[in-house]
């Protein structure tokens, strides 16, 4: 696993140690496996809306740090934080509800054949030109 992206690795009792595969990952979501809203696609991009004024949990703070300077997908956040996709979805869902982050719709969320066809044309042209 890439371990060079400087994620916090605290050894304090009760803290999440990202490297450990034996932890119960949903402890950081209070046991919730999903938020009340729609399921966030794994490729949906997350951006942060300014610096939160309130204190956030270690994991949410990390998401805010990662997604401040660039758009990152739920999948990328999950990889960089060494947390399962499902956990990141819940945390991102919370950040959106709390007004700290925004999720940018993937094509999947606004399915329309005409739109999709024009996106596919762009994808085809783009790949062909690589």
């Amino acid at each position: 696993m890439p371990g060079h992206d400087g994620e916090p690795d605290t050894g304090d009792p009760g803290e999440v140690v990202y490297e450990s595969a034996s932890i119960r990952p949903y402890a950081v979501t209070g046991g919730r496996t999903r938020t009340s809203g729609e399921l966030i696609p794994i490729e949906a991009l997350v951006s942060v809306l300014g610096k939160p004024s309130t204190a956030l949990s270690t994991e949410k703070t990390r998401i805010v740090e990662l997604a401040t300077a660039q758009y990152l997908s739920v999948a990328e956040l999950s990889a960089h934080m060494h947390l399962p996709v499902g956990v990141v979805r819940v945390l991102v869902g919370d950040l959106v509800e709390e007004g700290h982050a925004r999720v940018h719709g993937a094509v999947a969320s606004s399915y329309n054949p005409a739109t999709t066809l024009s996106v596919l044309e762009s994808v085809l042209d783009g790949i062909s030109a690589l």
């Binding site: 890439p2 794994i42 490729e43 660039q70 960089h80 940018h104 999709t116 690589l130």
Partner: protein, 198 residues
């Protein structure tokens, strides 16, 4: 896994509008070359993420019947390609094992389609993927990975062995080659467009 390139390459400044994201799924058996294929064309080093699955099973022990809960972690590698028009294409390599098929539903929702990567020495490993995409009418192509550039089998023979329907495009590929990967993705997108246009 040690990857030399930075995994936070090519940040998109937030002043820019959010890219439109699309995804393609790369499916196939264990060690068939999914991550190699993704890495051959991705802008970022393939990243690994984990989906944690909780399995409930009822077992009987000395204390009588009780529910056991075990947690299984499934690793998934993925990459990203920035395309003109502010588009980001994600490539997700899916765990190939039968018992994890259910987690594909979530992954393939909204995908352009799938590449089923085949190793002709272990054909049986890609049966679940072919069945899955066929049953859900998700556009897919079958790409036979030629290790060392040698095609050991005729595509028609592979098609017959895998019972791949005639409408599904098939081709040889080389997961290590960017050019071959590009051709494979082009074939898939063209196929998906044909399907969409009816």
């Amino acid at each position: 896994m040690a990857y030399p390139r930075s995994d936070l390459a090519a940040p998109a400044p937030l002043a820019q509008a959010a890219p439109t994201t699309v995804k393609i799924v790369v499916a196939g058996g264990f060690a068939v070359g999914k991550t190699t294929l993704i890495g051959s064309i991705s802008d970022i080093d393939p990243l690994r993420t984990e989906a944690s699955l909780t399995e409930h099973s009822v077992g009987v022990d000395d204390a009588g019947e009780r529910t056991r809960k075990t947690e299984t972690t499934v690793a998934m590698d993925f990459g990203r390609i920035a395309l003109p028009g502010n588009l980001w294409l994600y490539l997700f390599g899916t765990p190939g094992q039968d018992r994890f098929l259910f987690m594909w539903d979530d992954l393939v929702r909204g995908a352009i389609g799938a590449v089923v990567l085949v190793d002709t020495d272990r054909l049986e490993q890609c049966f679940p993927a072919v069945d899955y995409f066929e049953a859900r009418q998700i556009p897919f192509v079958v790409a036979v990975n030629c290790f060392d550039g040698v095609a050991k089998h005729q595509l028609d023979d592979v098609r017959e062995a895998l019972a791949v329907p005639a409408h599904v495009p098939m081709m040889y590929t080389d997961a290590r080659s960017k050019v071959a990967t590009k051709q494979t993705l082009v074939l898939l997108v063209q196929h998906a467009m044909k399907r969409l246009a009816g």
